[in-house]
């Protein structure tokens, strides 16, 4: 299948597989500290490379711990194959020790799942699992294997990796081209589908031809060069006012590879502009919003069809006000070409808005599920897959408290990861909501007092504390030079200039 790294955690029902992996030279097993992180790391591996991520866990709690990671990959259409062991087929359905119907549990959060009860169907199932995960709109597939299968023998012939199936382009391409040609003020919006398809070069050509601004969803960040003057940033609920105002001026919204999540359609509904929708999943067309024109198909193929049909337009880019120099711009300055991951919360929104990501597969964030605890294991997955690159995880203290033990995993494998904790000693986004929507009744937002530097040192990471921008710059400078894992505890509660 072309997989050389897998993320796993051993347990009784999956031990036979680990036993084989122990002597398998072609596959490295990265052992995280908990199965959820295996799934997130496999997801980070997949997002940063475009390959399918693989995570492996045992039955029962091992399998259920994967669930959040699988749901995360499902919401963001990330190709993932989760392999779980289960009790022997003779014990299935008897409520045996560590038995969970994980296929039942994951049915609504996988593209498909399988239970393999006999070795005769194992090879075919694994092939199918990879093909399904990678075909069409990508997503997670779970293969639950009963323990007896590992102990059975079969004559095994080497198979060729499965072909990825790309659905054909369908829809009225000419009509869409006509709509585009007759529009005066189009706006392109890139979503995760552009990255999944590898359509960034075509999008760049398309935007150049139309001379129009390009916005992004959270999942689309990096699909279009964030430093290009045509890039106007994140759209939707968390966007800056300037970007959302563009929607009022545009007469045609060209959405490529986005499912119009409820976080972004509010501002779109207000604007009443006509919409052209390009998506690989036909079921996404006309699901949340009704487009005037729609083409279903792989973004790259659709644009290849569309490009010769659209005429050049004069360049017309809005002058958005320059960003102020916040922590995020500073971090970005030190790591202009890094792969960034984020956790979930205010820091995530700020990172989406402020980081200038130049390349696809360089911004990893839990878009649909909004899973706190995603970023650090995702960074681990990305670091494993991209040994030559800087990997930076931006976290809030709330999220970091959910996955901090993964620093030890990062250290154990000598990964180059900079972990930045934007520390306000609070669940900032929750606090903000309670202020705005619950009459300022702040409750359950305090985070425990933890000395993150001491913690990081105990897990083999270098640690820096920054309470001012000058200290932050020093820390970033040192972290950039250092090899291995670095943590920067960026305390924003002590100095106004840090906010």
């Amino acid at each position: 299948m072309g997989v050389s790294k897998v993320f796993g955690y051993p347990g009784a029902s999956i031990l036979p597989l680990f036993d084989v992996l122990s002597s398998e030279k072609r596959i490295d097993v990265i052992v995280n500290t908990q199965e959820q992180f295996c799934a997130f790391a496999a997801d980070g591996y997949a997002r940063s490379t475009g390959k399918t991520g693989v995570c492996i866990a045992t039955s029962g709690p091992g399998a259920t711990n994967l669930v959040t990671g699988i749901a995360n990959a499902y919401m963001d259409s990330i190709p993932l194959v989760a392999i779980t062991g289960n009790v022997p087929v003779s014990l299935l359905g008897t409520d045996a020790f560590q038995e969970t119907d994980i296929a039942g549990v994951t049915m609504p959060i996988t593209k498909h799942n399988f239970i393999v009860k006999s070795v005769a169907s194992l090879e075919e199932t694994i092939c199918k699992a990879f093909r399904i995960a990678e075909s069409g709109r990508k997503g997670p597939v779970l293969v639950d294997i009963t323990k007896n299968v590992f102990e059975e023998e079969i004559k095994y012939e080497k198979y060729s990796p499965p072909e990825r199936i790309i659905p054909p382009v369908s829809g009225d391409i000419n009509a869409c081209a006509e709509l585009i040609n007759s529009s005066e003020n189009p706006l392109i919006c890139v979503g995760g589908g552009v990255i999944a398809s590898g359509a960034s070069p075509q999008v760049a050509l398309f935007a150049d031809k139309l001379g129009c601004p390009v916005a992004s969803t959270a999942m689309g960040i990096g699909a279009f060069d964030g430093t290009n003057p045509a890039y106007v940033g994140l759209l939707g609920m968390n966007a800056s006012d300037g970007t959302n105002k563009l929607l009022q001026e545009t007469d045609l919204f060209i959405a490529i590879g986005t499912r119009f999540s409820e976080r972004m359609i509010g501002s779109l509904r207000e604007s009443n502009c006509a919409i052209i929708q390009i998506d690989i999943d036909e079921a996404e067309i006309d699901k949340n919003l009704s487009p005037v024109g729609a083409i279903s198909g792989d973004a790259s193929e659709v644009l290849t069809h569309l490009l010769p049909l659209v005429r050049n337009k004069p360049r017309r880019l809005p002058g958005l006000s320059a960003c102020k120099n916040t922590l995020y711009e500073i971090i970005n300055d030190y790591f202009p070409d890094a792969i960034f991951s984020t956790e979930v919360g205010i820091h995530q929104v700020e990172a989406c808005k402020r980081l200038k990501i130049k390349h696809p597969r360089s911004f990893l964030t839990s878009g649909g599920l909004g899973a706190m605890g995603y970023g650090l294991p995702a960074a681990i997955g990305a670091a494993v897959a991209n040994p030559g690159r800087d990997i930076v995880n931006i976290a809030g203290d709330g999220s970091f408290n959910m996955n901090m033990q993964e620093l030890a995993t990062a250290s154990r494998y000598s990964l180059n990861i900079v972990q930045i904790v934007i520390n306000n000693h609070s669940l900032g986004m929750i606090e903000q909501w309670q202020k705005d929507k619950y009459s300022n009744r702040i409750f359950a937002c305090d985070t425990p007092q933890i000395d993150y530097c001491a913690l990081a040192s105990s897990m083999g990471a270098r640690a820096f504390r920054a309470e001012t921008k000058a200290q932050l710059k020093n820390a970033l400078e040192s972290a950039k030079k250092a090899k291995g894992v670095c943590l920067i505890d960026c305390d924003i509660s002590r100095s106004q200039e840090m906010l």
Partner: protein, 156 residues
């Protein structure tokens, strides 16, 4: 908003029914009836799904169903022969048994069980017929009913 009938051909193995019914439940589509049975090809089952909704929902259901790996094809039955079988247990004693039997004959309902205090009828047909029969029987007192759900084939 109206009733729609879909024929969904699926791989005939365990768990497929759960996948389909789960999809309807998850997305809030309203199933009126779902029946499933093997086709002439034992590897394939036909599900007949009747649901109530609008055209937008119909479009979504067809597209979402088509995404399920075990679904082979989805067909909208817009000109179909549809049938459902009812078993209806009605209160009946020596005083009214003959009257009830007479009504049942008009509907071509078959008596499949006779007890001193009840009768069980079997009736097959389209919804309008089975419903009318049920309404008639209600005047005598229906003890319980069992329905198979709708099965249907496109005409022609």
């Amino acid at each position: 908003m109206r009733n729609y009938l879909l024929s969904v051909f699926v791989n005939n193995h365990f768990g497929v029914l759960t996948r389909i019914s789960g999809l309807f439940a998850r997305r809030g589509y309203n199933i009126k009836s779902l029946t499933v049975g093997e086709t002439d090809d034992p590897a394939v089952s036909r599900m007949t799904i009747e649901f109530f909704g609008d055209e937008h929902t119909l479009g979504q259901i067809r597209k979402q169903l088509s995404k399920v790996v075990d679904v082979i094809s989805v067909r909208l039955l817009d000109d179909a022969v549809s049938r459902e079988l009812f078993l209806i247990k009605v209160k009946a004693d020596d005083n009214n048994r003959e009257t009830i039997k007479g009504v049942a004959e008009i509907f071509k309902a078959k008596i499949v069980d006779v007890c001193p205090n009840s009768l069980i009828f079997e009736i097959t047909g389209e919804e309008s017929k089975t419903k009318a029969f049920f309404d008639m029987m209600s005047t005598y007192g229906v003890i319980e009913i069992a329905r198979t759900g709708v099965t249907a084939l496109q005409r022609g």
